[in-house]
């Protein structure tokens, strides 16, 4: 078995082989999801709790659907309105959860590292659904799956990640995953939204879209994360669109068969021109959503297998290695 993780907290701990294992399994779930009857029973009897400390519709629905299609009992806890508001600490929340005996815990939190903290205190498998500006591993995996299906490979591609790099966990997870897979990565954005030190990861950093997009195979646009900004990173949305919004003129510098990706939700007219987003020959934004469900099914399936194996060993008096 080439997947040895107890949690999925980020791309960073994964080996290239583990990433490929997830993608291969996800490919099979894509086929399943396209059938009329989509249900399997691999998570039969297991409890999945989705804890979202930060608003999300898309990711939460995707995880919920993935769990239900695998036969798990899925519960959504909206932490925005819960006891957290009443002052409960994250550790206390974890202890409360332990008492409910969940098997899979999907967590999104506005603070970087909060999901790791929670994972160290609970007895189930934890999936990071995005923590602050740190990581969003399932997004990077679904992006990788989309690229592999469109381009036929996930190595030796030139991938441009454009826009609000500073506030984006999607950018970090993608940077790590694509780097592990030996791709050429370019980060493009205004210097106010470009965090320091990414050059040292081997990424090329550009401030000019036309230069950065030159001969790119994949163009990944990021959402301008207005909710994470305390004002003043860019002069205005119109100047941002003029300089960094993806339109036909800028895209013409990329390879003619380059695909355009966006993690959603899109701000049309801010980071991407509506025409590009809707161009079925270039845009794979809808495919990304479809791959999202499949990738999350694959991740939960693999984690559940490890969880069962661990508990089986524990029953036999063995310790988990």
């Amino acid at each position: 078995m080439s997947f040895r993780q107890r949690h999925l907290l980020g791309i960073e701990p994964l080996s290239p082989q583990e990433i490929l294992t997830i993608l291969d399994l996800a490919d099979r779930y894509v086929d399943l999801n396209r059938r009329t009857v989509k249900r399997t029973d691999v998570l039969e009897g297991l409890t999945q709790i989705n804890m979202f400390f930060e608003n999300s519709t898309r990711t939460q629905s995707s995880f919920e659907l993935a769990g239900k299609r695998l036969g798990a009992d899925v519960m959504n806890m909206s932490m925005q309105t819960s006891s957290v508001k009443k002052g409960e600490t994250l550790i206390d929340t974890a202890l409360t959860l332990n008492a409910m005996h969940p098997d899979l815990l999907v967590v999104r939190h506005p603070n970087s590292g909060a999901v790791n903290l929670l994972a160290s205190k609970v007895e189930c498998a934890v999936l990071n659904a995005g923590d602050g500006r740190h990581e969003h591993p399932t997004q990077a995996l679904l992006d990788a799956l989309t690229i592999r299906r469109k381009k036929g490979r996930i190595q030796r591609l030139t991938v441009a990640i454009c826009g609000d790099i500073a506030h984006s966990r999607v950018a970090r997870s993608n940077l790590i995953l694509l780097g592990k897979m030996e791709n050429r990565i370019r980060l493009i954005g205004p210097p106010t939204l470009m965090p320091a030190g990414f050059k040292e990861f081997g990424a090329e950093v550009y401030e000019d879209m036309n230069e950065g997009l030159k001969d790119a195979d994949v163009v990944m646009m990021l959402r301008l994360q207005k909710e994470r900004m305390d004002g003043g990173f860019i002069p205005s949305e119109r100047e941002y669109f003029h300089r960094y919004g993806l339109d036909a003129a800028k895209l013409s510098h990329a390879r003619p068969d380059a695909i355009v990706m966006h993690p959603g939700p899109m701000n049309r007219g801010v980071e991407i021109d509506g025409e590009i987003a809707d161009d079925i020959n270039r845009s794979v934004i809808q495919e990304q959503v479809e791959m999202g469900v499949a990738v999350r099914m694959a991740c939960m399936d693999l984690l559940a297998q490890n969880l069962r194996a661990e508990r089986g060993r524990a029953l036999n008096g063995e310790t988990y290695a």
Binding site: S236, E239, R243
Partner: protein, 425 residues
């Protein structure tokens, strides 16, 4: 149309020369120096007087939009022409600030229609000059802004400033800052010292300027932005400036003509026409700044022309508005440094024309072949007593009212067209 200026004392800031020669102008550009007059050229006998590049005055306040009763593009342009200023670099501290490309396009069009001399605009660095959010630096640059500044509104939030600097750096934009620690200088209208204490005027130490400069320079080092300090007026600031330049930071500095020709004692009996931003300094500071200007440590000499109407000045000293008009008195005031032996004429024109033009990326400021024929002809020794009511500015708030001055402008040409003087006749 060919013009031939002969029998002129040519002041060349590039070569540093000051000698008799001639200049030939064709279709608005200088095509030859010390050549024979081409056939059919209009001859202008300069009578042995000085002919130099037109002044590029960096930091002129014009009241459009919002305060046209103080100064309009027309009145400022006429005053500039009479003062030998051929390019005005206008400040964005208008009512509404020049902080959007739309406003910039409006003032650019107004200026083109009304002014006999060239006017280029600086844009605001933050919206409304409020120090909170940066302006559309890219769009403003595309619309023709030559630099970005909040003028004397110091951006106190270092985070806002660092982001604006970072963004400006990515566009290669030039940022102009007013070095000042705003909390320390709040409410002050004089430099602290014996004079201010005696008069009981709230005062600020010149350390406030040095503190502002040191902070700015740290952010320049962090971001790599192109930076210009609008006015360095104190000896305390000079070591920091020198260090920044020695360390290779992309930094220049200016000083107003008032701060090199007047000192705190000139305020005398609470004369509000001497109230400036920053306030006039001690004589020691004035001399140190003169030395820095002559050595080139301070690059730019400017007028900081700030028109104020009578109502804004006819108030108790503390409440009166700061600033002085200077477009017309800039050259005679600056010539005080020449007559005092502080600087020679090519050196003065380097600070008043060549350096600002180069820093702002303009082709003016020089009498090199190929340059636009923006020229000033003047007699550096002609004496006169200034009567402020003869000034062409709408506002008459000059500290030189009744002063004995030397240096008269005889003629001004912009792109080969005479905009002041009657030598062409």
């Amino acid at each position: 149309m060919t013009l031939h200026f002969h029998n002129a004392r040519l002041i060349c800031p590039e070569s540093g020369t000051d000698r008799i020669g001639s200049l030939t102008v064709l279709d608005g550009r200088i095509i030859a120096r010390d050549a024979e007059a081409p056939e059919g050229a209009e001859l202008i006998d300069c009578g042995g007087k000085c002919l130099g590049p037109g002044i590029v005055d960096w930091g002129v306040k014009i009241g459009e939009p919002g305060e046209r009763h103080k100064e309009s593009f027309r009145s400022a342009g006429l005053a500039a022409a009479a003062g030998g200023v051929t390019t005005i670099i206008a400040r964005p501290d208008t009512e509404a600030s020049i902080d959007t490309p739309e406003t910039l396009e409006f003032v650019t069009r107004r200026a083109r229609e009304s002014s006999p001399v060239r006017i280029r605009h600086m844009g605001a660095l933050t919206k409304g000059r409020q120090g909170r959010e940066m302006t559309e630096i890219g769009f403003l640059q595309d619309a023709g802004a030559v630099a970005f500044t909040d003028t004397d509104h110091v951006i106190s939030d270092a985070k806002v400033l660092s982001r604006a600097f970072t963004y400006a750096r990515s566009l290669g934009a030039l940022v102009v800052s007013h070095p000042q620690e705003p909390a320390l200088s709040k409410g002050a209208s004089a430099t602290s010292g014996k004079f201010a204490s005696l008069r009981g005027i709230p005062a600020v130490s010149p350390q406030a300027e040095r503190m502002g400069l040191e902070r700015d320079l740290a952010l320049v080092e962090m971001t790599g932005v192109r930076y210009h300090a609008d006015q360095i007026t104190s000896a305390l600031s000079l070591p920091a400036l020198e260090r920044a330049k020695a360390n290779g930071l992309n930094v220049t500095a200016g000083v107003s003509v008032h701060h090199v020709t007047l000192n705190e004692y000139d305020v005398g009996d609470y004369r509000t026409f001497f109230k400036l931003t920053p306030p006039l300094r001690s004589e020691e500071d004035r001399m140190a700044v003169c030395d820095a200007l002559s050595s080139g440590l301070i690059d730019v000499l400017c007028s900081m022309h700030t028109p104020q109407d009578e109502e804004s000045k006819r108030l108790p000293f503390e409440e009166a508005a700061a600033g002085a008009v200077a477009l017309e008195t800039f050259l005679p005031a600056a010539l005080r440094l020449y007559h005092a032996g502080v600087m020679d004429l090519p050196g003065l024109f380097r600070a008043m024309a060549l350096n600002p033009a180069r820093r702002l990326g303009l082709e003016a400021g020089t009498i090199a072949i190929g340059a636009p024929a923006d020229l000033v002809l003047f007699d550096p020794d002609a004496p006169f007593v200034l009567d402020r009511f003869t000034l062409r500015s709408k506002s008459k708030n000059t500290p030189f009212d009744g002063a004995r001055m030397e240096g008269k402008v005889l003629g001004t040409w912009v792109g080969g067209t005479c905009v002041f003087g009657d030598l062409n006749a």
